[in-house]
Every structure is written in structure tokens, then in C-alpha cells.
């Protein structure tokens, strides 16, 4: 499910699925209105925004995509940072 990623000196980053295409699609003639960038649009009963993210999993660096987990229950947990205390 999670595909292994190559590790270089740059920190691997992920992001929202579809965000890149949107950026490329917008031409200079139609500047993106301010505040149009991904706003928090989280609502229960609505789809979770899909994303890809680099991850550490049991000794390997992998790439994880949320939509690969369709068919399963997912608990997605955010936290302030590694080595924080609680």
C-alpha cells in the first residue's frame, strides 16, 4: 500500500492531491483571488481532503496517500511535534 521513497538531502514533502494542478491551471490573466488558497473546509459528513505525505513506517521511508485507505476506517491524528510530552 505505502510505496517506498528515495531519500536525499532535501526533506521530502507531500501536500494535497489536486492542489498542484489547480496552481498550474490558473493563468496570469486571472490571478487567484486572495484567500482562495485552501481554506479549512472540514465538516462532518463531507469527504476528507485527499493528500500524499512522506512517512516513516517500521524502518522505511514511504509515501502515503489517504485515498489508498478507502475501504478502511482511518484515524488521522495530528500533534504539535515529535518529542513533545503528552
Amino acid at each position: 500500500m505505502a510505496e517506498e521513497i528515495k531519500v536525499g538531502c532535501a526533506r521530502p514533502t507531500g501536500g494535497l492531491v489536486g492542489a498542484e494542478e489547480e496552481k498550474q491551471g490558473s493563468s496570469e490573466a486571472t490571478p487567484t483571488p486572495k484567500g482562495k488558497e485552501m481554506k479549512a473546509m472540514i465538516q462532518v459528513g463531507k469527504p476528507a481532503p485527499d493528500f500524499t505525505s512522506p512517512a516513516y513506517l517500521k524502518g522505511n521511508f514511504v509515501s502515503v496517500k489517504l485515498s489508498e485507505y478507502l475501504g478502511k476506517w482511518v484515524l488521522l491524528c495530528f500533534y504539535p511535534g515529535d518529542f513533545t510530552f503528552v
Partner: protein
């Protein structure tokens, strides 16, 4: 998921978490350097530059069924997250014919909403059922 890199995740897992959990963290430790994903989920704090303690329950169709967000100093209750997932699974398996009342946990009775139950919940559900 946090704003740490996968390298820091590795260090934290290998040097600390693996001493709490045999074999280390069994699920992917996601990295969101820059906070793009956290921003989309409404848990990235620009002010602090970190993500708050957000927990999202996402069902097999990719739909968010619930979430809880805490400021950094207070930790979560994992059992409560599991209880909620179990409740959502009961509702889903019943195709929406059953609902789990306040205080439900596996083994406790569910409710079957319908015209016959209107105004009659008091007959089948007692307030002490809200507590363990």
C-alpha cells in the same frame, strides 16, 4: 502527522517511542513539513507554527464522521476514539437503521429511530446508561 520531517520521526520512534511500544510505532508516522495538510484540516496554527491535537475519524468511503481538536498541553483518550469508531461501525452495518445513544459502548443497547420511538425514548433509555 506533524510538521516534523521523516528523519525526526525516525529518531523519535527509534530512540523513545520504541521503548514504550514493543516494535515501535506500527502505523505510518506522517510528515507535513509546511503544514499544508494541517491547514486543509483546520489544525495548523500559523501563530505557533505547529499542528494542534486534531483527530479525525474517516469512514471507508473517505467521509469524515467525526473530529476532535485539543490545544497542545492536553492528551487524547484513545479508548474514546475507538469507542466512536465502534459506534460508527454499528450504525454503518445497520445501514443507518440503528443509532447509538449517549454513553453507548459495545454491548449496550442501540436505538432504532422511527415513528414509534418519538417521545418514547424515556421508556427504553435511562440517564444512568449515559455513564459507565
Amino acid at each position: 502527522m506533524s510538521i516534523d520531517s521523516v528523519f525526526v520521526h525516525k529518531m523519535w520512534n527509534d530512540h523513545e517511542l520504541s521503548k514504550m511500544v514493543a516494535g515501535g510505532v506500527p502505523f505510518p508516522m506522517l510528515s507535513d513539513t509546511g503544514g499544508k495538510v494541517g491547514t486543509a484540516f483546520g489544525v495548523y496554527s500559523e501563530e505557533m507554527g505547529v499542528e494542534t491535537r486534531g483527530r479525525f475519524i474517516i469512514d471507508p468511503d473517505g467521509i469524515i464522521q467525526g473530529f476532535e481538536v485539543l490545544t497542545p498541553p492536553v492528551g487524547r483518550n484513545v479508548n474514546e476514539s475507538f469507542r466512536q469508531v465502534q459506534a460508527f461501525q454499528v450504525v454503518r452495518n445497520s445501514k443507518g437503521t440503528e443509532a447509538t445513544p449517549s454513553g453507548w459502548r459495545p454491548g449496550k443497547m442501540t436505538l432504532k429511530p422511527g415513528p414509534d420511538l418519538v417521545g418514547k425514548v424515556w421508556e427504553v433509555w435511562k440517564t444512568d446508561m449515559a455513564f459507565d
